[in-house]
């Protein structure tokens, strides 16, 4: 898994690629919570277009990030979900809990 970060208008965008599995989800969790809880960034975007695989530990990290964002009054926004991510979101019935957009343009405009 690789995480690249960008700053846009004071917001953080993470471009994540590869597999978010048991071996790598702690890295994503750390990055997410660092922006939300420590840096208090008002909006954190996750570009999931190039995520080949996500497991339940990856979903748990996203849920933890979402809870942290609600606690701090910020927003965690997901966009460009890959097929694998979309399937797992549906299986866990979380697609209505998260803010999810089709692409970066729509996400940034939200």
């Amino acid at each position: 898994m690789q995480i690249a970060s960008r700053i846009s208008e004071g917001f953080t965008i993470f471009d994540i690629s590869g597999d978010i599995d048991l071996a790598h989800s702690p890295q994503m969790r750390k990055a997410l919570l660092g922006e939300i809880k420590e840096k208090r960034v008002p909006k954190v975007f996750l570009n999931l277009k190039n995520v080949r695989y996500i497991d339940s530990s990856g979903i748990a990290s996203l849920v933890e990030g979402l809870k942290a964002s609600r606690d701090t009054g910020s927003r965690l926004i997901l966009y460009s979900l890959s097929t694998s991510v979309r399937e797992v979101m549906q299986l866990s019935r979380l697609q209505k809990i998260f803010e999810i957009f089709e692409d970066e343009q729509q996400a940034l405009a939200s």
Binding site: D19, L22, E64, R86, V88, L91
Partner: protein, 157 residues
């Protein structure tokens, strides 16, 4: 149930091994002509099962043995009864037996991290069966092959 051995994997309880198992199973399910969504479902289920072995049975200790046996289920429509084609996967470990209460899963209405792996397995496979034999935990999972004509296309493909 007629079956033939497809592959046997001996691995160590290290999270880095999971990607190797996923890649191997992805190819194996393609060879058995599973449709892409079913192939992903099988890979996901085995990955989640292995993650549970690493976290719970072996309590995150590395270098402990796990064995995966994959068998091809053979179709048999004879008079003695019909069997469907598919894949049977048996996972064995020597770790702590699972707590029966934890095998019930949890409500998805409760939005919190954790506890989704078992739900994914049960949703994705046709059979998920936990047992213990000769001092080892055994998890048996089966996925039947759905003919392409009956397969549904998931959203986003």
């Amino acid at each position: 149930m007629a079956s033939e051995l497809l592959l046997k994997l001996h691995l160590q309880s290290n999270p880095e091994a999971l990607c190797l198992v996923r890649a191997t199973l992805e190819r194996a399910t393609e060879l058995l002509h599973f449709q892409a969504p079913d192939s992903r479902a099988i890979v996901r289920s085995v990955d989640e099962a292995l993650a549970n072995v690493l976290r719970h049975a072996y309590q995150s200790q590395g270098n402990l043995p796990i064995e995966i046996t994959c068998s091809k289920l053979l179709e048999n429509g004879g008079a003695s009864g019909s069997c469907k084609a598919g894949i049977e996967i048996l996972l064995e470990d020597s770790g702590v037996p699972p707590n029966p209460d934890e095998l019930k899963g949890r409500s998805l209405e409760d939005i919190r991290p954790g506890g989704l792996g078992l739900h994914f397995m049960k949703q994705s496979m046709d059979l998920v069966e936990f047992g213990r034999k000769n001092g080892k935990n055994q998890l048996r999972m089966i996925k039947y092959l759905v003919p392409a004509a009956f397969a549904t296309k998931p959203e986003g493909e």
